[in-house]
Symmetry: C2
Subunit: 395 residues, 2 copies
């Protein structure tokens, strides 16, 4: 008599969360220094000083009734203006406050976009490897997810499989670059080809196919890796952003959707997103952190540690014989497992070497494992011996 | 090609919001002192000192990575324990952290409960006058809302109409006491009778009929008005709470659901609510304000001004010949309009007397108007002359 889908979603144990809990328990048994927990994508560096300083200043100086009061449903107008200005200065766009819709993190941004767009029978295309909650969010709208197998050589896009998957039911395509779990960044060439296909297929089926860009890792790009700003390549792009990773604020849940003026029927799309937010119970994104994030929009945490860790792991693992596609950003990498069965491989890593990495199967890409290196560099260094023992056990 | 329901929800203009915007514009024309804006339910008193002091202390002293990091999806365990303790000391209950699920305000709490419970074909019963977003939230799940006409003598429950409305499709009943828009508080007698009927009908139809209590106004009760704690009267009660009104924090979006152990299959119901939260994109309720609200859970803003305003308005309006059911709580009252057409009445009040009150029709109760007296007492006093002129114009 309950909604069985919701019961299942609330009861299913997350592989990642279980691994994380195991790690804490194991640390108590054998000592934290002997457990190498790479399970969870929780930023390991604190928020920049700007965040707490701005929050304290607002709490001390701003009228409490206004600071903690309802903002308009789309977010405070001043906040949206500041964010538009920040985007414009960084990406040479010309957004105004009216192009922004503030959300309770990127998950909410995605849910508002998907619920605003989805009609019965619609399909959304996702590329493996992918963040598994996408399936939950897409299916919650009544639409279905179509998964394109991974390009395991470079974690770009298998365009042949992509083109074949598009049909008259395709409402949108969801991309996540820099990518969780692979760390890959789609090249400008990939984005141009993606845009070209979407233009052609939109024309063929006489309706826009929306590109939904989930971009919480945009700022975590290595060695000046270029992360193309998608609205500049394809007009029907919705950008879903979150400060969870760039400002190390995942628990505060603050993000936004960009609805560019160049989008077909952009005012209706904005209305649909706002209507979805309303029907999902999002009254407004939290007021204090709307203002904090807007005032710190041009800052990031000290994300250099992630690049240091990436370099150590890429070289170290390759030297041991692992196949690693070098990440262009994020704090993840997605090496191939040394046997086809990634679940068995990760279980062995866990039980025999206290090395906690996540099987690729859950990300739609078997034969790989995710390493979350948002951890102290010292843990990364000490873990190399465990990765080496694991490799040797397969020789 | 967009979801037309969502476009409609995002495009519909809110009567209340329009009235509020008119008030601001009118104030610029004739002076703020000549406009009597009773349109919006935004708390007019600041949060108690505890709120900002606690927030600043946490921002200064707590580890930033933990403070701003993900909490578990159901909310921080320590936070849930503190809230359970606060409820237990006030209502002689015996909740633990496991009975609490933290949400992004009461709207999210309602959406999580409704989505967790609703199956195709289900009906939820609501009593007029009612907060109009209930219909949006219920219909978003695919269920339908059945509205019971108001008991306009006392704003309790028309039990005859209620009993007749229950059938095998009734999944739940949503109550809001203290009530927006009437300010009425359901008496213990009303609650006992409600529970009795729900027990009998649950037995008759062989499945639980859930009682969903939306309680953001619980703490704003006048002259010691007793607000029965519903889980003590009916086991299958879900309590949806928010600190928006009690701590004057509507923009921060912080609330919770209580799932009592006494509820049938309470663990499955909790899982369904958590699953719904997940599918709606609620990753966790914002971390800083989870902790702030838990640490201030036994405090309230200085809500005495609302009672002062209620007393002045009740006496003043009655002396002028208005029919007023005296509120037991909230910062609303819901007098009868002096003509049947409440929309025409409110329009006349607005255009001829700069008196901004909201027609009852939108709350499912024509012939009445909502006065939101969460305003300075001085505005209430000055408004009496306008209410009087309005009354005289109908004599």
């Amino acid at each position: 008599m309950l909604n069985e889908k919701m019961v299942a979603l609330g009861t299913q144990r997350s592989v990642i969360r279980e691994l994380f809990e195991y790690g804490k328990q194991r640390a108590a048994e054998v000592g934290a220094e002997n457990v190498f927990d790479f399970s969870i994508g929780n930023p390991s560096v604190p928020a920049p000083d700007c965040v707490n300083e701005t929050a304290i200043k607002l709490l001390k100086e701003m009228d409490s009734v206004i600071l903690h009061g309802y903002t308009s449903a789309q977010g405070d107008a001043g906040v949206r203006k500041m964010i538009a200005d920040s985007l414009n200065s960084r990406f040479q766009t010309s957004f105004t406050a009216d192009n922004l819709y503030m959300t309770v993190g990127a998950a909410a941004a995605l849910c508002c976009c998907l619920n605003g767009l989805a009609c019965p029978g619609d399909e959304f295309i996702v590329f493996a490897p992918y963040f598994p909650e996408y399936k939950v969010f897409i299916e919650a709208t009544g639409a279905s997810m179509k998964l394109i197998p991974a390009d395991i050589e470079a974690f770009q896009i298998d365009f042949k499989a992509f083109e074949e998957a598009i049909n008259e039911h395709t409402k949108g395509v969801l991309v996540n670059s820099p990518n969780n779990p692979s760390g890959a960044v789609y090249s400008e060439e990939t984005i141009k080809k993606l845009a070209e296909i979407l233009e052609a297929k939109s024309a063929e089926y006489h309706h826009p196919i929306y590109l939904i860009a989930d971009e919480p890792y945009r700022e975590i790009a290595f060695e000046g890796t270029f992360v193309p700003y998608l609205p500049k390549y394809y007009n029907n792009t919705l950008v879903c952003y979150s400060w969870s990773k760039s400002l190390s604020l995942p628990g505060e849940r603050m993000g936004y959707v960009v609805v560019p003026d160049e989008m077909d029927d952009h005012e209706l799309v904005y209305a649909a997103i706002a209507g979805a937010g309303r029907s999902l119970g999002y009254v407004n994104a939290p007021g204090l952190f709307q203002r904090v994030c807007a005032l710190c929009a041009n800052e990031t945490s000290d994300i250099s540690v992630y690049e240091t860790n990436k370099n150590i792991l890429t070289k170290g693992l390759r030297d041991m014989g692992y196949h690693v596609v070098e990440p262009g950003g994020t704090f993840y990498m997605f090496p191939r497992t040394l046997i086809d069965d990634d679940i068995a491989f990760c279980e062995k890593a866990k039980l025999e070497h206290n090395l906690l990495i996540v099987p690729g199967t859950g990300f739609g890409c078997p034969g790989h494992a995710r390493i979350s290196y948002c951890v102290p560099t010292e843990q990364v260094e000490r873990s190399l011996a465990a990765f080496e023992k694991l490799a040797k056990s397969y020789k």
